[in-house]
């Protein structure tokens, strides 16, 4: 496999004190969709902007398509499609005019009708950008990145603030691009997005990679990749966490607002034991669900925090 993006020892320090990125190595293969997953402020945007050649790293090396940014900027820009976080395109121009403008910057742009078609913007082609919905604006932003026929697509938080339908539409666009052997690097703080869309993921926290692999690998890496969640109603006061930890197959216990989360290896052994333990204490179950462990659980396991914390 050929490497599309490679960086070593990336460090970015703002004003000589704030360390946004603290030593990052990445190898992104051509044709894969790679996700940088992490909470807000983890250093995702700084990292992706360094890779996009928009920010110089304080220390570290970046190679994109085998080239460094220094001395190959024009060549690289012709081959990259970049969608920044929150760009507000000119509201007075139409969708078609905006795409025409961005296409004009590339030596060999894609054909506009095809792009409009692919991103389902045909009906809105002659509408002013100011009249578009959030999802349509975001699709247009991605369209301005795709209009240059890129071999790598960079998306910074592409679905933040979008409704579920618009998010799914964007995921389809990314998959379509990947099917044409395109490489995708995206940042997100949505674990479901990373899980469904990305071939590989790096979880970033405080400017460092704390885990890397395919979503399945990361989840399998957890001891106990099933989660049992339950709540109880009890007449004789609170019940200590310790008794749940002693149930068979339980790897860890967390409780939040009266909801218990057990990470277990084999739910079919744990659940009968849980039921009898509840009964033995004269309490009743108010809620019980089981699910596969998710990247969220991986993140909580690694950091003790949730991805999206208030």
């Amino acid at each position: 496999m050929e490497t599309a993006i490679r960086c070593r020892g990336l460090v970015k320090t703002y004003d000589g004190k704030v360390e946004a990125v603290r030593g990052l190595d990445l190898d992104i293969e051509a044709g894969e969709c790679f996700g940088l997953l992490g909470p807000n402020g983890a250093g995702k945007t700084t990292t992706i902007e360094i890779l996009e050649g928009l920010l110089p790293p304080t220390v570290g090396e970046v190679e994109v398509l085998g080239m460094t940014w220094k001395g190959h900027e024009r060549e690289l820009r012709e081959q990259l499609g970049i969608s920044l976080q929150e760009t507000r395109l000119s509201e007075k121009l139409t969708v078609r005019e905006t795409l025409h403008l961005f296409a004009s910057f590339y030596h060999r742009p894609a054909s506009l009708p095809e792009i409009l078609d692919e991103l389902s913007l045909n009906e809105k082609a002659d509408a002013r950008v100011g009249t578009l919905s959030g999802g349509q604006k975001q699709r247009l932003a991605v369209a301005t990145a795709l209009v240059g026929n890129p071999s790598i697509l960079f998306l910074d938080e592409p679905t933040t603030g979008l409704d579920p339908q618009s998010r799914r539409q964007l995921w389809d666009i990314v998959r379509q691009f990947q099917r044409r052997r395109g490489t995708v690097l995206l940042t997100t703080h949505y674990m479901d997005e990373a899980e469904r869309l990305c071939d590989r993921i790096a979880i970033i926290d405080h400017g460092k990679i704390i885990a890397e692999g395919t979503p399945a690998q990361l989840i399998a890496g957890l001891s106990g990749h099933h989660v049992v969640e339950f709540a109880i109603q009890s007449n004789n006061g609170g019940v200590g966490d310790e008794i749940w930890a002693r149930l068979p197959g339980v790897q860890s216990v967390r409780s939040e607002d009266g909801l218990y989360c057990l990470r277990v290896d084999e739910p079919h052994h744990t659940i009968p034991a849980l039921l009898s333990a509840v009964q033995a204490r004269g309490a009743q179950l108010a809620h019980l669900t089981t699910r596969q462990a998710s990247l969220e659980d991986v993140f909580v396991h690694l950091t003790g925090r949730h991805l999206r914390e208030n």
Binding site: L80, R88, S90, F102, F105, Y106
Partner: protein, 367 residues
Amino acid sequence: MAVPEVQIEPEKSKVATVTNGRWAGYWALLGARMKELWREPEVIFWVFAFPLLLALGLGIAFRNKPADITPLAVVNNSHAQQVVDLLERSASKNAIHADVVDEKTAFDKFRLGEYALVVTADDSGLHYRYDPARPESVLARSQVDDALESASGRTDPLKTEATESSEPGARYIDFLIPGLLGMNLMNSGMWGIGFAVVDMRQRKLLKRFIASPMRRTDFLLALGSSRLLLMLIEVALLLGFGVLVFHMKVEGSLLAILLIGALGAVSFGGVGLFTASRAQKIESVSGLINVVMMPMWIFSGVFFSYERFPQIIQPVIRVLPLTALNDALRAIILQGASLSSQWSQLAVMALWGGVSFVLALKWFRWS
């Protein structure tokens, strides 16, 4: 059997990829900029309608009209009728309107400006009450004095003669139109470049542009070109308005006027770009733009001649870019001066534009 092949051809050509030439980006940026401007109602108003309204309003307010009739109060006493009779006999009886009123009314209304002069006649002669700070009062005093003295039989030892002259070219509106044109070129250069650039920076559009293969020089060239195109319209509108509505006479060559206008537009574009080189928010650049423009509104002779300011600050006033632009426009439009006679003004503008453009490029932040 050739038919199916022929049908396939157009299908192929539709999918064929376009190849963009060197200047495709520049033309697309210029086209987009002009469309944006054209679709912004505020721009249309401030750039085109506002200066015309200003010219119309000021042109009407300061139009050359026959001298006003002097309102005069004669204090009612036994000598009042004598004064009125004398005025009736004088040559300027049509230019003076005299009311005979009691002293209190006369003084009250004089204070309010309804009378320009109060005359009190008694045995010893005439007494004038006038205000040396009011031009019309000073004028009324000498006018009424002259009328009364000559009607009483004064003979003037020196014979004088006067010719009336209010030719187009010497009127206030003639002075005003080139000044408004200069001011408009400054306003639209500063706002059209300075504000637009910071707005695009704040919207992260500049950053998005440089994330594409767009050439940065194309972007700046397109901004400058859009200013030149607008300049053409601004010059045509204001001069055309002056000629059609106020019968203004354009003495100099149109080409010279356009060249001066182009230099002015580019020069203020450079100053605008410099003002906007680092600002992150449109609020802060708005303040900066006003700070830069304010002295020129006042000192550069837009609405009145800057000769009125003290001699000591004249050298400073003369090196302001708007002063140079206004002087050059007036010399060419009103006096038919040649472009080469304006070299010092051209040099002032070129220096301001050039130096600020170089500094702007040095400091410019794309994100």
